[in-house]
Assembly symmetry: C2
Homo-oligomer: 253 residues x 2
């Protein structure tokens, strides 16, 4: 049945990868933007921020940015592409901790243990800004804006961590997941109603603590209810209000 849709597939969704060639445009979407830019390039202290940033990548889908146990030396801001973080227990079972979009930061949970407590795996072609953490925290001592930024990012991640904790139905989880992705894309200037799911159904299911089959079924049901349009990994949110109602209780307010 789906083969008939080939010609009529959803017309090119915007590519959610920040333009690597346009420095300021990316930086406007980055978690560090207010430290890097808004605070002003002219302030002499911030020259150091430029110095301690290192552009790394590309990583191809499946490649590791860091691995569990690697010594912690830096945090990474996603410049382009999508990353998942995961833990693998000794029985080999994977546990997806989160997905990170352009402008978001990975590695903050390694500060305390001083080693990365999880893997970071590229889901597609990814690029990063690498911030040496010793240099960053030294800078934070001299520039309150940088320190405040770090505190806020850490605290923000504390809030999102408890989002998927509740005991909620599969429908609630999936709806909240989609609306969360939408708002994060919107926050970075991408479309909130049409985007590409870089992660597999299995990854989504694992992240939401569901079976892959359940995620598939919920997607099918949401489609038949005209809440979404989905084909493969191309998603369009048809009824954001409806999804928000379903996902409320998991979503902020």
């Amino acid at each position: 049945m789906q083969s008939k849709h080939m010609a009529g597939r959803l017309p090119e969704p915007p590519n959610p990868i920040a333009d690597d060639g346009d420095e300021t445009r990316f930086c406007g979407t980055c978690a560090f933007s207010s430290a890097c830019i808004a605070a002003g390039y002219d302030k002499p202290e911030l020259v150091e921020l430029q110095c301690l940033v290192e552009h790394v990548g590309p990583f191809r889908a499946g490649e590791h940015i860091f691995r569990t146990g690697d010594p912690f030396r830096a945090i990474f801001a996603v410049r382009g592409g999508t990353v998942k973080t995961r833990m693998v227990d000794k029985e080999g079972r994977e546990q997806v901790l989160g997905f990170y979009l352009p402008g978001e930061v990975i590695g903050l949970n390694a500060i305390y243990p001083e080693h990365f407590p999880c893997d970071a795996v590229a889901l597609d072609t990814t690029f990063f800004c690498r911030f040496s953490f010793p240099a960053m925290s030294a800078l934070a001592s001299r520039v309150p804006a940088v320190q405040q930024h770090l505190f806020r990012m850490l605290s923000k991640e504390l809030g999102t961590a408890s989002l998927l904790a509740g005991d909620h139905s599969a429908d609630e989880r999936v709806a909240a997941f989609l609306m969360d992705l939408a708002s994060r894309y919107a926050a970075r200037g991408f479309s909130a109603t049409r985007f590409h799911l870089s992660m597999s159904r299995g990854d989504i299911a694992n992240y939401l603590r569901l079976a892959a089959e359940t995620v598939s079924r919920v997607f099918s049901r949401f489609r038949s209810q005209k809440l979404i349009e989905i084909e493969g990994r191309e998603l369009q949110i048809v009824d954001p209000k409806g999804l928000r109602v379903i996902g409320q209780g998991l979503l902020p307010e």
Copy 2:
């Protein structure tokens, strides 16, 4: 059957409330100890840390330390007693986010939103050290040890947040919960094998995303398997190895 045990109830477990009258003993167990003490009282910068600390309490069981929406002005280190943090959604359903023992810190997740995103409720009689956050972060700019402490506490909490996320059986959750409590008591110098559960079965169940009946059943099963001894809220861990095996996959390593 239990009434017969009244005379033979577990002999007085140590009271897990830091001695409020013994300043240095408590501080040795506190999350800020290395900033407050180890770094040395003699350093002039640290005099400020003494100044910005304010002792508050007591709060009685059921009283709020802060409420959702309160403006964020300070973080609190538990000096004595136990606290739960929780969110209440608009349908009135409670969601327990965590329990905090003497020496642990609450309020870190309010830095980013600048308002407390949850309630903090005393489970028994509690006392706190209140740290004004503006003063604290100003101090952090000048004293690297304080800054590092804040980073580490935030990062540490990020790690524990993902602990209860996995899809694990009721047995695994309960075993991991007990062993986590045990190690946290041990880290503060209390007995790791015998302590009082300040929270109700309902709170434990809510925190672990189980029904209260399930928690009760698991406790009963663990007792019949000689893993624990429990009577009301007095707990003794009889077979830590066994519990650890059950809870592994949720516990660090």
